[in-house]
Amino acid sequence: MANVTFRIWKGRGEEAGYKDYDTDITEGMVVLDAVHQIQAESDPTLACRWNCKAGKCGSCSAEVNGQPKLMCMTRMDTLDTSEPVTIEPMRAFPHLRDLVTDVSWNYEVKKRIAPFKPRKPDAPDGTWRMSQDDVDRVQEFRRCIECFLCQDVCHVLREHHKHPEFAGPRHFVHTAALEMHPLDTDSRIGHMKNEGGIGYCNITKCCTKVCPAHIKITDNSIIPLKERVVDEFYDPLTKLFRIFRPKSRS
C-alpha cells in the first residue's frame, strides 16, 4: 500500500483549479478507483462520469498526467506515483464541473449524419446475407464506445476549435461504418467533404493512438473516406462525368 497524491481539476468556470488529495493505493487499483475512494473519504462533491468500470461504456474519459485515458482502464501501477498524479477533464469540450465536460456537441454532429439505409432484403423472409469477411471491417468500427478521447486529442478540435466545421475522428469512424456497411445504399461522402470537414485532418494518427477500442481510426476509416472524397469530387474523369450528368448523385 502506498499513499499517493492526486492533483485533480476541481470547480467550475473561473474558479476551477487543481486541488490535491491524498489516498492509499492498493494492488490492482485503477485511477477511477482512486477517484471513488477520494469521493467516499474526503470529497463527496468531486464530480466524474463513470458507468461500467470495464472499458466498455466510454464514460470516464479524462486526461491522466496529460494523456487522454479511460480512468477505469488506467492501472495505478503504470503511473509514476512519486510525483502527484494529475487528473483533468477532457480539454477539447466545454468544462462543466470538476472532471465533467459538456460532450453534447458530439451527439448533435452524429444526428446530422444520414442514418443507415439498407437495400431490399435478400431473402423472402426479409433477411440479408453478408459474409463474415465483408463485415469484419465494419465490426471494427462498431467497437467504438463513444468515449470521445479521439475527439479530445485531435488538434483540429483541441487547438483550432473547428467544432462547427469539423466532425472529428469519432464521426469519421461512424460514417465509415455506414459507408462500408455491405447493405447500406446511401452516401455521406458529400456531407463528410463539406459539413464534416474531413479535409482538415492531416492524418497525424493521434486519434488512433488514444483509442481504447484499438480501432485503426486513421488507416482504416479516415484515409479510405478521404480517398472516396477525392474519387467523387476531384477525380478529373468523374468531374467531367458530373458536368455532363449534373443531376447525378453528389
Binding site: R12, T26, E27, G28, M29, V30, D33, Q39, A40, P44, T45, L46, A47, C48, R49, W50, N51, C52, K53, A54, G55, K56, C57, G58, S59, M73, R75, L96, R97, D98, V100, V103, S104, Y107, K110, K111, P115, F116, P118, P121, G126, T127, W128, R129, M130, S131, Q132, V135, V138, Q139, R142, R143, C144, I145, E146, L178, H181, L183, D184
Partner: protein
C-alpha cells in the same frame, strides 16, 4: 398551479431509462405517432445494456434448424423453475426472432454463419445454439443500433436527468418529478403514460457486475406509486465475475467463455461441474470431457458440457468448491479457455476473435493472458428476476398508466434467467411496452399534475442539504452493500434474513439523517444520498420475499430449506406498500398453464 421553479416537459409518453428496453419502447411509441420523452441518468448509449456480452437469445434456427419457439419457451420455463409468467414466456419465445432480425434492418452487424446469415452460439440452459452475437460485445452492438436508429425518430432525450418520484392523479400515473444532474434544477415530466425501463438493483450488493445506475430506481418508483413487485427473492448471482485484483472484483466474465469451451476447475485441477447434475437436466448433459467438446464444436448428437447448466446452479457449485477448500488463491475457482489449444490450431487467435473484450479485460486489469493461463472467477450479483408486476400482454403495471419493461419488470424469467434472455426480453417487451403506452396515452390523454405533490418531492430531495455536517451517504451505502452481501446473498437462512430486516430498519434511520455539502451542480454526494432510499426499499423487498419462501429454487437458495417444495411451486411472492406505509407481502397462486403449452413442455423434456 405548478411551482414556477419547476420546468415542465410535456409528452404523451415518458420513458425512464435509456438502455435497450427504454430505447426500444421509445422507438415503438414514437413510431405510433405520439410525442415521446426519454429520461436517462447517464449519457445516451452508456446504460447497462452496453455491458451485456454473450448474445441475444432467439430461436432463429440458423445454426441448428431443430430450434423453434417451442424449444425456447420450454428452456425458459425450465430455467425459471416454472414460476415464470407463461404468457410472457410464450410471447418472448415467439417474437424474439423478429425483434433480433429487425435490428439488422437498423444497421446491426452480427457475426455471420458460413452462408452469410446471423450466427448463433451455445449458452447455459439453451438446448440449441441460440444466441445471436457480436464477439463478446453484443450489448454494445444492440444499444448503439437502437441509439443510432432512435435519434432519427423525433424522440426528445433528457440526458443525465434523474427521476425521484412518480406523480399521480387519483389512481393513475400522470408524470414524473426529477432533476437534471448538471445543474440540480427540478423538472416535471408530464405524460399520459410512463414507461419504466430503469434496469436492476445490483448496487444493493457489495460484489456486483452492475454500475452506479443500478440502484433499483424503477422498482422503488413503482412501489411508492402503489404498484406490486413480484418475485423479488430471485436474484441472479452470475457464476463468473472477476475476483482479483480487489478493485475489479465483480466485473463480469461472459458466459460466452464457457460457450466457447471454457472449463471450470478447482485447485486440484478437477472439473468439478461433473459432480452434481440437477434432475431437471440429467438427460441433457455430456457424460465426459470428450462429449462436451463435441457439443461446443456443434455436434448435434452431443449434449452440453456441465459448465453450461443454468447460472444459479453453476454459482452454487463454485461456492461449494470454495467453501470446502478447493478454491483458487483469491477465493474463486479457475476458468480455463486456454486448454482448447489441445484441440485446435490457432487457439490463441480463435480466443481473441471470439472473446476480444475478455482478452483485453484480463490483460489490462489483471495481467492475465487468457490464451495461455486460466482466469480466477467467482459469483457476482448480476440481475434481478423480480420486479414490477406487469400484465403479460400490455406490460402495464397494477397502477394505471404505468408500464415497465426489461429488468425492472418481472415475470419472464421466473426463479432464474437464462443467459441471453435479457437482451431478447428488452427488445420484445420494450416494443410491447412502447406500443401499449402509446395506445393508453391516445385513449386517456393527459391527467392533472398536482403542484403539491411536486413541492413535496422537492422538499424531500433537498432535505440532505438541511443536514450539513451529518453522516456521509457513502458510509450508509457501503454498510448496506456489505450487509446484503453477507445476509441475503447466494446462500441464505432464516436467522440471517431476519437480522437483515432489522439492519435495514436501522440503516433507514441512518439514511434519513445523511447530509450533503456544497452545491447542487453535478454533486455525486447528493445523488448517492437520494439513491439510498431506493436501495433500501428494494433491499427490504428482497429480504422479506426471501424470508417468506421456505424452499430453494433458482436464484433463491436457503441452507435451512435446501430442497424445492411442491407447496411453494404454486405461487409467486408479491409485495406492495400498505396503507400505513409498511411493506405488505402476500403469496399469489400462479395461473394454471394452458393445455397446449403444457404439451409443449412435456414434448421438450
Amino acid at each position: 398551479m405548478a411551482d414556477p421553479s419547476h420546468t415542465i416537459h410535456e409528452h404523451d409518453v415518458i420513458v425512464i431509462g435509456a438502455g435497450g428496453a427504454g430505447l426500444r419502447a421509445a422507438i415503438e411509441a414514437s413510431a405510433s405517432g405520439v410525442s415521446v420523452g426519454l429520461v436517462c441518468k447517464s449519457l445516451l448509449g452508456k446504460a447497462h445494456t452496453v455491458m451485456a456480452e454473450g448474445g441475444v437469445a432467439a430461436a432463429i434456427g440458423n445454426v441448428d434448424d431443430r430450434d423453434g419457439w417451442q424449444v425456447h419457451f420450454a428452456d425458459t420455463m425450465r430455467g425459471g423453475q416454472y414460476l415464470n409468467n407463461w404468457v410472457m414466456a410464450e410471447i418472448h419465445a415467439k417474437e424474439a426472432p423478429a425483434r433480433v432480425l429487425e435490428l439488422e434492418a437498423w444497421g446491426a452487424v452480427f457475426d455471420r454463419t458460413k452462408d452469410g446469415r446471423v450466427l448463433q452460439r451455445n449458452f447455459g440452459g439453451h438446448k440449441y445454439p441460440r444466441l445471436a452475437h457480436v464477439g463478446d460485445s453484443t450489448g454494445l452492438e444492440m444499444i448503439r443500433t437502437l441509439q443510432d436508429h432512435g435519434i432519427h425518430q423525433g424522440i426528445e432525450v433528457y440526458m443525465e436527468h434523474t427521476v425521484t418520484t412518480l406523480l399521480k392523479d387519483g389512481d393513475r400515473v400522470v408524470g414524473a418529478f426529477g432533476y437534471d444532474r448538471e445543474r440540480g434544477r427540478f423538472r416535471i415530466y408530464k405524460a399520459a403514460a410512463v414507461v419504466l425501463a430503469t434496469g436492476g438493483i445490483g448496487r444493493a450488493y457489495k460484489i456486483t457486475s452492475n454500475s452506479w445506475e443500478y440502484t433499483g430506481d424503477g422498482h422503488a418508483l413503482a412501489y411508492n406509486a402503489g404498484a406490486d413487485l413480484v418475485d423479488m427473492e430471485f436474484i441472479q448471482f452470475h457464476p463468473t465475475g472477476m475476483v482479483w485484483p480487489p478493485s475489479v472484483r465483480g466485473i463480469l466474465v461472459t458466459e460466452g467463455v464457457r460457450g466457447e469451451g471454457g472449463r471450470l476447475l478447482n485447485n486440484k485441477g478437477e472439473r468439478f461441474m461433473f459432480d452434481d447434475i440437477p434432475d431437471l437436466y440429467k438427460n441433457q448433459v455430456a457424460k465426459d470431457d470428450e462429449e462436451g467438446w463435441r457439443y461446443v464444436l456443434g455436434d448435434k448428437e452431443a449434449h452440453r458440457p456441465p459448465e453450461l447448466l443454468t447460472r444459479d446452479h453453476v454459482a452454487r457449485c463454485i461456492v461449494r468448491e470454495v467453501k470446502e477448500g478447493r478454491g483458487s488463491p483469491h477465493g474463486g475457482v479457475f476458468l480455463d479457455i486456454a486448454w482448447i489449444k489441445e484441440k485446435m490450431k490457432n487457439a490463441p487467435e480463435h480466443i481473441k476473435k471470439k472473446l476480444p473484450s475478455m482478452y483485453e479485460q484480463f490483460k489490462e486489469l489483471a495481467n492475465v493472458d487468457i490464451t495461455t493461463e486460466p482466469m480466477e472467477v467467482g459469483p457476482t450479483t448480476h440481475y434481478v428476476m423480480g420486479g414490477v408486476r406487469v400484465d403479460g400482454l400490455t406490460q402495464m403495471s397494477t397502477v394505471p398508466g404505468l408500464f415497465a419493461a426489461g429488468e425492472v419488470a418481472a415475470g419472464l424469467h421466473g426463479a432464474n434467467r437464462l443467459g441471453g434472455n435479457s437482451l431478447s426480453d428488452l427488445l420484445v417487451f420494450g416494443k410491447l411496452a412502447g406500443e401499449h403506452a402509446a395506445r393508453w396515452a391516445k385513449e386517456h390523454g393527459q391527467g392533472h399534475i398536482d403542484a403539491e405533490q411536486a413541492r413535496d418531492a422537492e422538499r424531500e430531495a433537498l432535505a440532505p442539504y438541511e443536514r450539513d455536517g451529518a453522516e456521509n451517504p457513502y458510509g450508509v451505502q457501503s454498510d448496506l452493500q456489505e450487509m446484503m452481501q453477507e445476509k441475503v446473498g447466494i446462500v441464505r437462512n432464516e436467522n440471517d434474513m431476519a437480522a437483515a430486516l432489522d439492519a435495514i430498519a436501522a440503516l433507514k434511520r441512518r439514511a434519513d439523517g445523511v447530509g450533503v455539502e456544497g452545491h447542487r451542480e453535478y454533486n455525486p454526494g447528493w445523488h448517492t444520498a437520494l439513491d439510498l432510499a431506493n436501495l433500501l426499499t428494494v433491499s427490504e423487498a428482497v429480504a422479506r420475499s426471501a424470508l417468506d419462501r421456505r424452499e430453494s429454487r433458482g436464484g433463491h437458495f436457503r441452507e435451512d430449506c435446501p430442497d424445492k417444495s411442491d407447496e411453494f411451486a404454486k405461487h409467486n411472492t408479491v409485495v406492495r406498500k400498505g396503507p400505513d406505509g409498511s411493506m405488505q407481502l402476500r403469496r399469489e397462486a400462479i395461473p394454471p398453464l394452458r393445455d397446449d403449452l403444457k404439451k409443449v413442455i412435456e414434448e421438450q423434456k
